[in-house]
Amino acid sequence: MKTRDLRLEIKIWGSMLECRVFLETDEVGLWAYNASKKIFFKELPDYPIEGELDVRMFCKGKNGASAKLTVKIKDQADDSLECVINKGNSETSKSITIIQTADL
């Protein structure tokens, strides 16, 4: 199993009551907030990944509110997911392919 340094960033738009993020089946909690960029973020160094990284997010709040999650994996391009609330909720998921880096 490989490990990678991950950084998750979320930008919230609108009146969001709840936003939850899952990597594989584990929920990501205790997010920090960057007041100048107005984003929530979470650093996950040496995160174990087997095969693809399954990311899932769901949100609840007022219609029109949205959350954009950016998954930053070291040594590869960022990936993103977005939820836009309609009828009170929104859910999205994605399987991110991990690019194999050359072993030194």
Binding site: S15, M16, K38, G64
Partner: protein, 325 residues
């Protein structure tokens, strides 16, 4: 009863950070809905209520959340100050007559709603609030000894409330609020302006000089009582889609409120129409101005004997944000 053209307040707090709050208040400054949709850091938020002429400062603190991105527990501390009898009487007869209320509240997302159900159209949140208010007031009794006619006193009251909010399908906000409050009927008594005249005569010139001191107070059958305020409200919340961010949208609230307890309950019905503007930074749509109408004591329980149309009040308010973090 005098024809009242007063204003019912919509007090709207503009969020300092990523999230919004919509607070609606009655004439007396009691909050109808209290829904801290999320404040990331502490923010000092201010609001003005034109009807009760009060100024309020709120500071909201969030508690860390082990699950979820956003905080789901909040502690709010607020201090409200107002003159006991209106701005004009803040200083009266050489006395400073303020009323001050301090409130501490705990709010949490999810009471009955299922936090793990991703496709749930229903999410709820509640607030438990405890408050303490101190009011310097003046009563005038014309039917007693002259030296005892003016009574300056301080009324202290405790109030507790439970406020429940349910957001359905991202648009329909239902609010129920029940509470306990120690109150008096001072604000419902007749206003009176007391003038004491004194005359000084100058023995040399023979000139008499008269001067007066004005004291503002109330007169009538003063009572202290325990009450159980109750409110139920429905708010239609305008959507916050990004493509509409330059548009101003209307929202509205309909509510019923009453006070049960030792005194005769008066049933009030109200409606609030507010215009919202969406923040280009946060995307939160908050009311910028609102107009309210309230029909007081619809069943004339207080037996004022007047027409319902004379018990209709109007209100207009706006709010301001003190900090931007």
């Amino acid at each position: 009863m005098k024809k009242n053209i007063t204003l019912i307040a919509i007090t709207i707090l503009f969020p300092a950070l990523s999230f919004g709050q919509v607070f609606l208040e009655t004439l007396e400054g009691d909050e109808i809905t209290l829904n801290p949709i999320g404040i990331n850091n502490g923010a000092i938020l201010g609001s003005l209520n034109s009807s009760e002429q009060s100024l309020q400062f709120k500071s909201v603190f969030t508690l860390p959340n082990k699950n979820g991105v956003l905080p789901n527990q909040f502690v709010t501390l607020s201090v409200k100050g107002k003159p006991s009898d209106g701005i004009a009487t803040l200083f009266s007869g050489g006395n400073f007559n303020p009323s001050t209320a301090i409130n501490l509240a705990y709010s949490k997302i999810h009471l009955f709603s299922d936090k793990d159900k991703a496709d749930a159209k229903f999410i709820d949140f509640f607030t438990l609030k405890a408050g303490y208010n101190v009011n310097k007031q003046t009563l005038f009794k014309s039917d007693t000894l002259f030296k005892d006619q003016i009574n300056d006193f301080t009324f202290e009251g405790l109030d507790l409330s439970f406020n429940y909010n349910a957001l359905l399908s991202g648009k329909n906000l239902l609010t129920v609020s029940i509470g306990y409050a120690q109150k008096n009927n001072y604000s419902k008594l007749d206003k009176v302006e007391i003038k004491d005249f004194a005359t000084i005569t100058d023995s040399l010139s023979g000139t008499s000089r008269t001067y007066s001191e004005t004291i503002n107070g109330r007169m009538g059958n003063y009572k202290e009582y325990e009450s159980f305020p109750f409110r139920i409200a429905y708010t239609s919340c305008p959507s916050e889609f990004k493509e509409d961010e330059n548009k101003m949208k209307f929202g509205y609230t309909l509510y019923y409120s009453s006070e049960f307890g030792n005194n005769t309950p008066a049933h009030n019905l109200g409606a609030l129409l507010f215009l919202t503007k969406q923040s280009e930074k946060t995307g939160i749509r908050t009311p910028v101005i609102g107009l309210g109408i309230q029909a007081n004591d619809i069943s004339d329980n207080l037996n004022k004997g007047n027409n319902l149309t004379k018990r209709v009040t109007f209100n207009l308010t706006t709010t301001f944000n003190l900090t931007s973090l």
